[in-house]
Symmetry: C2
Subunit: 357 residues, 2 copies
């Protein structure tokens, strides 16, 4: 199936929209949340657990997979879907964020990024072309081009340079795609600009002009206050073409997502639901709750009585708390199942609220 995005309903109250993405590995209802499968696995969950939780698309990390298990192995396996036995869509990030947040001794030039692996210190060089080669070998459905991601806070001059370089790389990436180097995935454009509204607008204009089938907003959720993130998103979605999908990368907590949907974002990914679970925290209508608490010692009710996930239908807080304190893997598995199902239901409700307006 060729890539396509359809807007089914536009909210009257906000910039929110309900849509559908069509990808080589099937359809995705938007707004959508993608659990993160960093190393070709959404931690503690099997693919069938993901399907059961209602997951329609996952995100995998180009940078991490390049280091472990390496692109050659994934290419030989026939791509990420076959390697990890996941037959629904996969979105891969550009590696840019990880290079700038994890890697050592990076050196950025217009040609690309030199860096040392955070695992073994080995040297690597990423260019717009090599990133697409990686994502092509992964057989990613939605690919991100190499971008330069700035931290928060960051000097405006540096952000301006990163915007310039991100635009340059976006153009090179598009040319690479058009020369037929990667035939499977669809390449999005990434907007940068830190927390400077004028730079965000400039980046959105430059990237839109290159013309991509979808857009990502990068470099947010890196430490800035929520209202600044919303301001940037709002400015950017004013400029990005209305009929193309927008991915707000690396976001976020439930209230970040519900706010961002109202500002016109369609795609989200974040490690929060899975990472919180591994730290013993589950999500419910009460917000974030730690299963470790003494008050749950003899609480035989499910972690979320309104939830119909495998964890909530069959196990009590008292049991999961026991497993967590005893360092049993099943605790992490059950909490992750619940947190991912919680996010999936949250997204379904967000879509329903827009459709029901």
């Amino acid at each position: 199936m060729a890539f396509k995005f359809e807007i089914l309903k536009k909210s009257k109250k906000s910039k929110a929209r309900v849509g559908k993405l069509y990808t080589p590995h099937g359809e995705v209802n938007t707004p959508v949340f993608c659990p993160v499968g960093t190393l070709a696995t959404v931690k503690t969950m099997s693919p069938r657990d993901l399907v059961e939780a209602g997951v329609e698309m996952i995100l995998a990390n180009t940078y991490h997979l390049m280091l472990r298990p390496g692109v050659d192995l994934i290419r030989e396996a026939g791509g990420l879907h076959k390697f990890m036995h996941w037959d629904k869509p996969i979105l891969t990030d550009s590696g840019g964020f990880q290079v700038f947040s994890l890697a050592d001794m990076r050196k950025v030039t217009d040609r690309g990024v030199d860096f040392k692996s955070h695992i073994d210190g080995q040297k690597h060089f990423l260019t717009p072309q090599s990133v697409l080669e990686l994502e092509g070998a992964y057989a990613s459905d939605i690919m991100m081009p190499l971008d330069e991601c700035t931290p928060y806070p960051c000097d405006k001059k540096l952000v301006a340079l990163a915007v310039k370089r991100t635009t340059r790389w976006a153009k090179e990436s598009k040319s690479e795609i058009e020369s037929g180097q990667s035939k499977i995935g669809t390449l999005f454009g990434i907007v940068q600009g830190g927390t400077y509204k004028d730079l965000r607008k400039q980046s959105a204009e430059e990237i839109s002009e290159i013309d991509f089938p979808g857009y990502a907003i990068g470099g947010l959720s890196v430490g800035e206050p929520q209202n600044e993130m919303f301001d940037m998103l709002d400015a950017v979605t004013e400029i990005l073409p209305f009929d193309k999908p927008r991915h707000l990368m690396g976001v976020g907590f439930p209230d970040d997502i519900s706010g961002a949907v109202k500002l016109g974002a369609d795609i989200f990914d974040c490690v929060i639901p899975t990472r919180l679970a591994r730290h013993g925290t589950f999500l419910s209508s009460e917000g974030k709750v730690s299963i470790r608490q003494a008050r749950f010692e003899k609480d035989f009710s499910p972690i979320d009585p309104t939830c119909d996930c495998y964890a909530c239908k069959n196990f009590s807080k008292a049991y999961i708390r026991h497993l967590f304190w005893a360092r049993e893997i099943l605790a992490l598995h059950l909490l992750t199942i619940h947190n991912v199902a919680f996010y999936m239901k949250m997204m379904a409700e967000i879509r329903k609220d827009i459709l029901d307006e």
Copy 2:
């Protein structure tokens, strides 16, 4: 369902038999292997994974559960089945083996065992009566009485004392059951005697005389050579009543089990399949194989091509090896699923071979 054991077929070639156990939580085909759910979870597996693998009964450890989460919590949960959401039979050991192998500063008298927890050093006292109280609160289907387990090697005088005490405790346990203290589970008798054939025979005679609905052979698989274990088992099954089930506790590797079935054992439990999995070792027709090996780096075949478990049907050695080296929990989960399924199929073949004779 009241406890019952039926022998469906007796081998003509050996002392092996195929049978059926009827328990309050359903039927079990023997010879049966019980995965070990030490802390009310078979490590890395959910109850539905166990059912899918073909598991019909699990073993839980009285000693470990007493320390974590403690008997009060399990009692309040309504027993182990409800606590851990497992509705098939549960067999609980006596705690004797753990007290003698794990606990600190134990002191044994005819009344019972004083010891300190291996977790927090807290003092505990186990008596034949208190063990049954624990197992009753767990709502165990098959209960073991407190016994004295000797190490290997062990001075004969000490083993003789342990046999004497085990018989004494077996009598007290039976009286306790008959006085109506525990109404759910069925109490087995345990034979001890180390690797001394005369003591094994004496113990088997004394315990048989007390008359239990089933028997366990304890204190084997503690370091002695396999042939000694088989000798002891052979001597004991000559004496134990033919029509009662026999549980060879803590055994073992596949060849231990197939040999022991031929000597008349019906029930087995062991941490081997689950523990090996967590160390990256899977079982196949080749024996024990480590997934860590370099030769599997680009091996896209399943870990066992003849196996139809979830791990083998859907994932490659290359993928599971990657997950294992990346310390991903899914590796441990998939290897455990396979190893447990491998044991279940092995037991099914053992039963079929006897039925087909």
